[in-house]
């Protein structure tokens, strides 16, 4: 909790010099479009007016990194670490830059600082694991006098493009940085969704301080390139599924203001239809917490949409209540087994480094952490998984609860790779799509 507050404090700090959502969004968009130089000039322009703005300065660092201007980027991030000592992200990115130039010792120090500012900061752990691995291999090279023929492998460290880290998660050593669900701070990048004024309350990079404080564990929607019509999304958002950030059940109240939910209900029929259009069309992460299970079941099938839309909502009616427990264990246990089998299949695909198979376990509605796009997230996962010598993933003590077309599985995950051994508690939220259970949310925490 303390950590969450810490990040809330940071948000408040950021608010002192608010970057206008539009400005950041514009820069983001330029960056995404590959117009790096333009993005930089826009950033500089903004910084000329608001020189202290942390978000934009961070953005500038990211842009400079993209431009391979390592020294300048290092200067920017270094200054940020001086001005905002409690922020892990600038340290992390400094480490990425140092590692890229082979300065693993500096990278190690920076990551240790990142972790000190935020002990549950998963990207930093994963990066630190990589840095240790790199240092070890350098040491081995020296030990075995391999020197000459061993060009340093390309750094796999994750550069953060946003501030929204996994702040607040309680995992000691999560095995992946996906775990962010519980309490990411709002992401400035969320504004990449250009002109999305409606959902501001939900995904604005700069929620009002109150929001930030009262809902630290808010989940940040992914960075999305082509955001679907925002409004219907919001309507759909109120799904309780997103809220049940399992770990933080307490501090994470309803993710979305109840009123919205109410709004969604009155029009159950149209909602699924809208979603049906928006969702499946875009494999791109739905920035907004997935639609309710109500909408979920058959949004993909327009055919079904009309008829079942009706009965479904009725069934789910009781659910919208936050998350306590899915009203009642609706389904019989046979469904539990199906879900569990799916979880084991997921772990197996992961361990066998069958990345395509692994990614196939994730629903189209899956929300990548840290505001990553689905593609960026997939790429990162691919790099992480394929890069390992071997991986072992164990799922133990699973607890499954199925409610309608949503299932939640909580278990102990043991992850062992050639670089990292980590035990964590993991929660997967799965949704049933066309009879198949797929992962919609993934979070770590004890």
């Amino acid at each position: 909790m303390r950590r969450a507050l810490g990040s809330a404090g940071f948000i408040a700090m950021l608010l002192a010099q608010p970057a206008w959502a539009d400005d950041i969004a514009d820069v983001s968009k330029l960056l995404k479009a590959g117009k790096v130089a333009e993005a930089l000039s826009k950033t500089n322009e903004f910084l000329a007016r608001h020189p202290a703005d942390a978000q934009m300065r961070f953005m500038k660092g990211v842009i400079l990194t993209e431009q391979n201007k390592s020294d300048e980027a290092i200067a920017v991030f270094t200054k940020l670490t001086e001005d905002y000592k409690d922020l892990p992200e600038p340290y992390n990115n400094l480490a990425v830059l140092y590692a890229a130039s082979g300065q693993y010792d500096k990278a190690r120090v920076a990551l240790e600082k990142a972790i000190r500012t935020n002990p549950s900061y998963m990207t930093a752990y994963e990066n630190l694991g990589d840095v240790y691995g790199k240092m070890a291999s350098q040491a081995y090279d020296k030990a075995l006098a391999l020197g000459a023929n061993s060009a340093p492998a390309k750094s796999k460290l994750t550069l953060l493009r946003t501030f929204s880290s996994s702040t607040g998660s309680k995992v000691t050593v999560p095995e992946m940085n996906v775990a962010a669900a519980p309490a990411p701070a709002p992401s400035p990048v969320a504004t990449a969704r250009p002109g999305a004024p409606a959902p501001v309350a939900l995904i604005s990079p700069l929620p009002s301080p109150d929001v930030a404080k009262s809902q630290p564990p808010q989940r940040i929607p992914a960075l999305s390139v082509t955001p679907p019509a925002a409004t219907p999304k919001v309507a759909a958002a109120p799904t309780p599924v997103a809220a049940p950030a399992p770990v933080v059940a307490k501090p994470a109240p309803a993710l979305v203001p109840a009123p919205v939910l109410a709004a969604a209900k009155p029009a159950p029929a149209p909602a699924p239809l809208v979603i049906a259009k928006a969702e499946p069309a875009k494999p791109v992460p739905t920035p907004v917490p997935a639609p309710a299970p109500v909408a979920k079941p058959e949004p993909a099938k327009p055919v079904v949409a009309a008829a079942p839309a009706k009965p479904e909502p009725a069934k789910v009616e009781p659910k919208p209540a936050p998350k306590p427990e899915p009203a009642k264990p609706v389904k019989d246990t046979s469904e539990n087994e199906v879900v569990l089998a799916q979880v084991h299949g997921w772990a197996k695909a992961w361990a066998s480094q069958n990345v395509d198979g692994y990614l196939g376990y994730y629903s189209n509605e899956f929300e990548p952490p840290k505001g990553l796009s689905r593609k960026a997230w997939s790429d990162e996962r691919r790099a992480r998984i394929e890069g390992k010598g071997h991986i072992r993933v164990e799922v133990s003590n699973p607890e499954v609860s199925v409610s309608g077309n949503t299932a939640k599985v909580t278990f102990h995950q043991t992850y062992v790779s050639d670089r990292l051994t980590a035990k964590s508690r993991k929660t997967l939220v799965l949704v049933k799509n066309g009879g198949k259970w797929q992962i919609k949310q993934e979070s770590s925490g004890s």
């Binding site: 240790e112 972790i115 000190r116 002990p119 752990y125 630190l128 694991g129 240790y132 691995g133 240092m135 070890a136 291999s137 350098q138 040491a139 081995y140 020296k142 030990a143 075995l144 006098a145 391999l146 061993s150 000691t172 050593v173 062992v416 790779s417 050639d418 670089r419 990292l420 051994t421 980590a422 035990k423």
Partner: protein, 412 residues
């Protein structure tokens, strides 16, 4: 106490050391959990790398990964070319993120040979401390040194160790001991190019400074008098057996890596160079280096002295048959003469009836080898009337069956 017991202890502790390396952080790795350890001030004295290595293991045994890591960092800082240090440091770095169960846990494929060498080096270095003899024990090989022989070197080939002893007022004191590398194929050199290190009692015959030598010899070389008289009798060939340093790119070489030379680190070579006296300092090489109580050594010394005394008496008495009986049938002089020819040449004033023979300033060494050989050096003085003759002699006595026989003899 027999040296053999030492061996067992050595092996056990060596193994323990390697297992210590396996200390892992299994069970919920936590980077943050370890309490931060304040970096200690770097030792002013340049600590020897083996002490630093055992410090690292000690920290690991106490689960202080951070402290161990700091020490490993300091180790490679102090000895940037100490490859074993880098290997251990690599393992420690890995330990931050995974279990490490053996030395060189994640060495890339293709380096198996080098890794095996480093593991052997680690094993023998780990034996060093527990194998160090207690103060009560003396090296069995150094039966008696001449007063003016200030130092002696003993190379324990079995444990890749060189012991530097100081001789002061008939007291032996272990000054230091060093890791050494020897021939690729071990010991028992018998011919040129067999990549083996000779065993026996030798002397340092020169000092060659490093600047005059190729890089491979490091800071310098101390040549040995291989092959000695005993080697020649046994038909052993080859030459150029030196104690020398390491090339700049590496702090040490694997235990079995030379063409027969004894290689030490450059730091150790400098130490040795300061200590040794050319032509005077003995270096005993063998695989049966034993550390025994003083009483055992005194018994051995009495035997060695009695051999020479028996020989002296027969020389004095001009008892040619008995004197001849002291010599082995395989005896050969440096000029390839047999014992009879050799003895005939040694006679002083053959016609004299009454001569007096004394032996003075003796030294006795026992070869640290399976074959029992005693090397005696002494000054023989013969007085016939007012004529005097003195000669420094070196004899190699070997045990043949139950008898000790002179196999080689020379006048120095």
């Amino acid at each position: 106490m027999s040296h053999f017991r030492f061996l067992q202890r050595w092996q056990a502790s060596g193994l323990l050391g390697l297992i210590l390396l396996g200390v892992s952080l299994e069970g919920g790795v936590s980077y943050a959990a370890k309490k931060p350890v304040k970096p200690r001030a770097a030792a002013i004295r340049k600590a020897n790398p083996e002490e630093l290595l055992s410090d690292i293991y000690r920290e690991l045994a106490e689960n202080n990964l951070r402290a161990a890591q700091e020490k490993a960092d300091a180790l490679v800082e102090a000895y940037p070319n100490f490859r074993l240090g880098h290997l251990v440091r690599g393992d420690l770095l890995l330990m931050h993120t995974r279990a490490v169960t053996q030395l060189g846990a994640a060495v890339p494929p293709g380096a198996e040979g080098k890794l095996a060498d480093l593991r052997r080096e680690a094993a023998v270095r780990m034996q060093a401390e527990p194998g160090r003899p207690s103060d009560a024990l003396v090296p069995r090989a150094l039966l008696q040194m001449r007063k003016d022989q200030k130092h002696a070197l003993i190379v324990d080939a079995k444990h890749s160790r060189l012991y530097l002893y100081e001789n002061q007022g008939d007291q032996l004191r272990l000054v230091s001991d060093f890791y050494v590398s020897q021939g690729k194929l071990g010991i028992n050199k018998s011919r040129e190019g067999d990549m083996r290190t000779p065993i026996g009692v030798y002397y340092i015959t020169a000092h060659l400074p490093g600047i005059k030598l190729p890089d491979i010899y490091g800071k310098g070389a101390l040549p040995l008098d291989y092959p000695n008289d005993f080697d020649k009798v046994n038909g052993r060939s080859g030459s150029g057996i030196w104690v020398h340093g390491t090339p700049p790119e590496t702090f040490s070489r694997p235990p079995l890596s030379t063409d027969g030379c004894v290689v030490v680190s450059n730091d150790d070579l400098n130490t040795l160079t300061r200590m040794v006296e050319i032509g005077k300092t003995p270096i005993l090489i063998g695989d049966q280096v034993e550390f025994v109580s003083k009483s055992v050594m005194e018994r051995d010394l009495k035997l060695a002295a009695s051999l020479v005394e028996g020989w002296r008496r027969d020389v004095e008495n001009r008892d040619e048959v008995s004197l001849r009986a002291h010599y082995s049938s395989r005896f050969r002089s440096a000029a390839d003469e047999d014992a009879t020819t050799w003895l005939a040449k040694q006679q002083f004033l053959p016609g004299a009836k009454k001569i007096s023979v004394t032996v003075s300033d003796p030294s006795y060494f026992r070869q640290p080898t399976h074959e029992e050989v005693i090397v005696s050096n002494f000054t023989q003085q013969i007085a016939v009337g007012k004529y005097h003759h003195a000669v420094r002699k070196k004899q190699y006595w070997a045990k043949e069956g139950q008898e000790w026989k002179i196999v080689a003899e020379s006048n120095v």
